[in-house]
């Protein structure tokens, strides 16, 4: 199973609901294209909702980092929402928990984007 994405607007924030696996190949390229597409349309306040993402490999982690820098370089903000334990653990192991703002509450994530 690869990844499925859908986007919704909450205030100024665009929330991308992802489900499936973010791994090398289709999973990571879908995430890359989704974020690039949003940024190209001027959406710079992005929340990636990972509630239904059960698995991320190192390529998926790299894609999250790349998404973060892409949005940041455009003056935007990218936040993470609802991490499953395995994904949470991966971000801790790789020290990326110190890089990303991670939320367990959608309203708080939206509010953080101003």
């Amino acid at each position: 199973m690869s990844i499925k994405t859908s986007s919704r607007q909450v205030g100024e924030a665009t929330i991308v609901d992802l489900s499936g696996r973010i791994t090398l190949g289709e999973g990571s390229s879908t995430l890359r294209e989704t974020v690039r597409d949003l940024v190209s349309k001027g959406q710079k306040k992005i929340i990636l909702n990972l509630e239904d993402v059960s698995y991320i490999d190192s390529s998926g982690i790299g894609e999250l980092v790349s998404s973060f820098t892409t949005v940041s370089n455009q003056g935007g903000k990218l936040k993470l929402l609802h991490l499953q334990k395995k994904v949470h653990d991966l971000l801790q192991i790789t020290k990326l928990y110190t890089v990303f703002d991670v939320y367990t509450d959608e309203a708080a994530a939206v509010k953080s984007l101003g």
Binding site: T23, L24, G25, D57, S58, S59, I61, G62, E63, V65, S66, F68, T69, K86, L90, I93, T94, K95, L96, T98, V99
Partner: protein, 142 residues
């Protein structure tokens, strides 16, 4: 024992991961350890397929898994030009944190109890990784 030859494709990565996860579960590893073993195999196979064999259809990846009373030993061989495990930059270093790549073998080390490599003759690299039953039990309890 599990022993297969895989094509240098991403489909092989998925298949190899699944095979070893099934093998580990069948030999008594708990779910969390099976996940970690699967991820270590995935990252090692990606390394072999992408960086070792460079998706070359003429080059194969060998995957071998065997259990002993101590644990599970997995060997993955590619037919690439070879690489040095110690030459991989530390992904936790401040200057590398925002790099897109370079975390695969770090995760293998994090999830397995031992990892080492050796150059094969005339070409290729073998990665050997071990997951001990004992450390799994300790980690699970911890």
């Amino acid at each position: 024992m599990l022993e297969v030859q895989l094509e240098s494709t991403l489909e092989s990565v998925d298949a190899g991961e699944e095979m070893v996860q099934g093998f580990a579960a069948q030999h008594g590893f708990p779910d969390e350890a099976v996940h970690q073993i699967g991820m270590a195999v995935r990252e090692s196979l990606v390394n072999a397929v992408v960086h070792g064999n460079c998706f070359n259809a003429n080059k194969k990846v060998s995957l071998n898994a065997a259990v002993s009373s101590d644990g599970l030993t997995i060997r993955i061989q590619d037919q690439g030009v070879g690489f040095d495990l110690d030459g991989v930059p530390n992904p936790l270093a401040e200057e590398n944190l925002l790099r897109k790549t370079g975390r695969g073998l770090f995760l293998v080390r994090a999830f397995m109890d031992k990892l080492y490599s050796r150059r094969l003759s005339p070409h290729g690299t073998e990665l050997v990784m071990v997951k001990n039953y004992a450390s799994t039990a300790i980690k699970e309890e911890g």
